[in-house]
């Protein structure tokens, strides 16, 4: 998720730089015209038109970026889904989250999802990598049953390796037993 926000941030920065660059270029012939009285009215109009077109294109790109950002913020509201210890079956709450995600993905065809399966620290690295995979696959199966194209769903297990909370309490473990849903744009 953070990576997507970062990418959008970079894109916005690039857009604003190119905007400055384009307007900067447009101004140069203007100042030259002040000196060069031989320049025709037609040239000026042409330059102004080009400037307007460029600005409109930029505006469209920015609007598209803002829309993407808004949609990703929306997608971000699909919270992680939680699991019981040593279990990978989906709770009613988890199914609720996944149903909403399925609806959203159905109405936003340009988006895909990565499901990261995670575990708490108890048990071994290997068994937890397997358990994390089962958790991610359970969510994937549920989404495909709701009609989401399985090509749009990627799964990856991180086992117990990337805890959300590094503590060794029941509360920390409960937070760490999760599928983390990462929605991203194909574009």
């Amino acid at each position: 998720m953070k990576r997507n926000v970062f990418i959008i941030g970079v894109m916005v920065l690039i857009c604003s730089f190119s905007f400055i660059f384009i307007t900067g270029c447009a101004k140069t012939p203007e100042t030259q015209m002040m000196k060069d009285t031989a320049a025709t009215q037609a040239d000026t109009e042409k330059a102004a038109a080009a400037e307007a077109a460029a600005m409109a294109a930029e505006k469209a790109v920015l609007e598209e970026q803002m829309l993407q950002e808004k949609l990703l913020a929306e997608a971000d509201s699909f919270k992680d889904i939680k699991f019981a210890f040593d279990k990978y079956d989906l709770s009613a709450e988890a199914r609720g989250v996944l149903s909403k995600l399925a609806d959203w993905l159905n109405s936003h065809q340009d988006f895909e999802v990565t499901i990261e399966g995670h575990c708490d620290e108890r048990g071994t690295t290997e068994y937890n990598l397997a358990l994390g995979e089962r958790r991610a696959e359970a969510a994937k199966a549920y989404l495909t049953n709701l009609g989401i194209d399985k090509m749009k769903i990627t799964t990856i297990s991180y086992g117990e390796e990337l805890p959300m909370d590094p503590g060794s309490t029941e509360a920390a473990w409960a937070k760490n037993r999760r599928d983390h849903l990462v929605v991203f744009s194909k574009k």
Binding site: T124, E126, Y127, L129, A130, L131, E133, S157, E161, L162
Partner: protein
């Protein structure tokens, strides 16, 4: 290390007297084992050159700390020694054994050295104080740089004489060092020296396993955003990608001949155990079950595989033939038993089981009898791995907020915690190397 082969060694004692020496047959792996009380006075300078490097004390201290690390010796404090070094020598004839039995020593190590500023010769002798007899002795010639090798070689002699095995000072432990969302593979010597960073992938790297010649380490890494299976060649640092199937590619133990390794793949829809031919990369699927099947470990003869499956509801240890036939459940007590490792001596399997809300190590005979809890650590004990002589276990335990690497004798005694690494939060998944034959 090859340079050490040039080291000249002379056996100058009566090896023949060894079989007559009854204590060899003491079961040193039993929890009732009493450590050998041993005294090591400073070595004698046999030359005329002043001992500027303080080799006298260096040798006695290094021998003491090496023997102490093995967990089989209780070193007698030097302050208690009664023998007058001026009126005694390093032979049995020149030793007053009653001076040593009075201070409680059953064993005595004496030695002397000659150093000319470049070359060094050292002789060591191990005595049985009670019998007043020499057990074994050796003399080494070499350069001063080889003094640690000389010292460790004689430690090997002492261990061989008293325990029947040469010890594991020529072994290393590989483990995972974690920092934030990244982890790398490290190795360290049995005695805690010579820490080395093996990978620098800046990714998550897990599950190190040694090749039988100890010149390669296999591992699983998220280097390319998927848990893939790699082999790192320790001789030249080259990294070879061995398996990159969709899903899990989990590194497992190598076969004794180094031609194959066990691994777990989930490419066919769920986690199954396979072997991979290291040269050809060809796979043989061993398990066929829709449950989780992970953590395979070969028996020393390669005929059987212990593994973890949740096919009976919760994770338990199972055993099957090398090609997947005759599956039988090994563990029945407790609802969470994982991470089996077959003892190199055979018969026994160590695993990690739940105990009072945490995890501890247990051993069980391969026929399912004699389940014994080995560790009782406050921070739990996970990911066990045997030393190649089957006399020690290494595992990870949470000490404070950090996971650390711990070594115990196989009877669960003599816990030793390896040093932390600066800037690394957590050390886990230790894997014990085969003998490197350095000494």
């Amino acid at each position: 290390m090859r340079a050490f082969k040039g080291l000249l060694v002379v056996f100058f004692t009566l090896v023949l007297c060894l079989p007559a020496w009854g204590k060899v047959y003491i079961d040193i792996d039993s929890p009732a084992f009493q450590k050998f009380p041993t005294a090591i006075p400073d070595l004698r300078n046999m030359g005329t050159r002043q001992d500027k490097e303080d080799l006298s004390r260096w040798f006695s201290e290094q021998l003491s700390s090496a023997l102490d690390i093995t967990g089989y010796f209780r070193m007698i404090e030097k302050g208690a020694f009664l023998e007058d070094p001026k009126s005694s020598g390093i032979t049995a004839e020149a030793t007053n054994f009653s001076d040593w039995s009075v201070v409680g020593a059953d064993f005595l190590v004496k030695g002397g050295f000659l150093y000319d500023g470049k070359n060094l010769s050292v002789e060591f002798r191990l005595f049985d104080v009670v019998e007043g007899k020499l057990i074994t002795g050796k003399k080494y010639w070499g350069s001063i740089k080889e003094k640690k090798v000389m010292m460790l070689r004689f430690v090997g002699e002492i261990l061989h004489a008293l325990t029947g095995e040469r010890g594991v000072f020529d072994t290393k432990i590989a483990f995972v060092g974690k920092k934030g969302n990244e982890s790398e593979i490290y190795t360290v010597n049995f005695d805690g020296t010579d820490l080395q960073k093996i990978t620098n992938f800046k990714s998550l790297s897990l599950l190190p396993h040694w090749s039988p010649e100890a010149n390669r380490i296999s591992l699983t890494s998220y280097l390319r955003d998927n848990p893939d299976y790699y082999i790192v060649d320790l001789r030249n640092g080259k990294v070879k990608k061995m398996s990159e199937h969709v899903g899990l590619n989990l590194s497992g133990p190598w076969s004794a001949d180094g031609e194959k390794a066990l691994l777990v793949l989930s490419k066919d829809g769920n986690e199954e155990i396979y072997t991979i031919d290291i040269k050809e990369g060809t796979l043989e699927r061993i398990t066929h079950n829709s449950s989780i099947d992970v953590s395979p470990s070969w028996s020393p003869d390669g005929e059987s595989i212990a593994f973890v499956s949740n096919r009976s509801g919760s994770p338990q240890v199972f055993i099957m033939d090398a090609h997947g036939k005759n599956v039988r459940r090994l563990t029945f007590e407790g609802s969470y038993n994982t991470s089996p490792a077959w003892s190199p001596k055979g018969k026994k399997i160590v695993y990690e089981g739940s105990s009072n809300g945490g995890f501890q190590l247990f051993t069980i005979d391969e026929d399912g009898n004699n389940s014994v809890q080995v560790t009782f650590e406050r921070g739990g004990a996970e990911d066990p791995s045997w030393s190649p002589d089957g006399r020690y276990l290494v595992f990870s335990s949470k000490i404070g907020q950090k996971r650390r690497i711990c070594i115990v004798n196989s009877n669960g005694l003599n816990l030793r915690v390896l040093d932390e690494i600066k800037g690394i939060q957590s050390l886990e998944s230790p894997s014990w190397s085969p003998h490197l034959n350095l000494y």
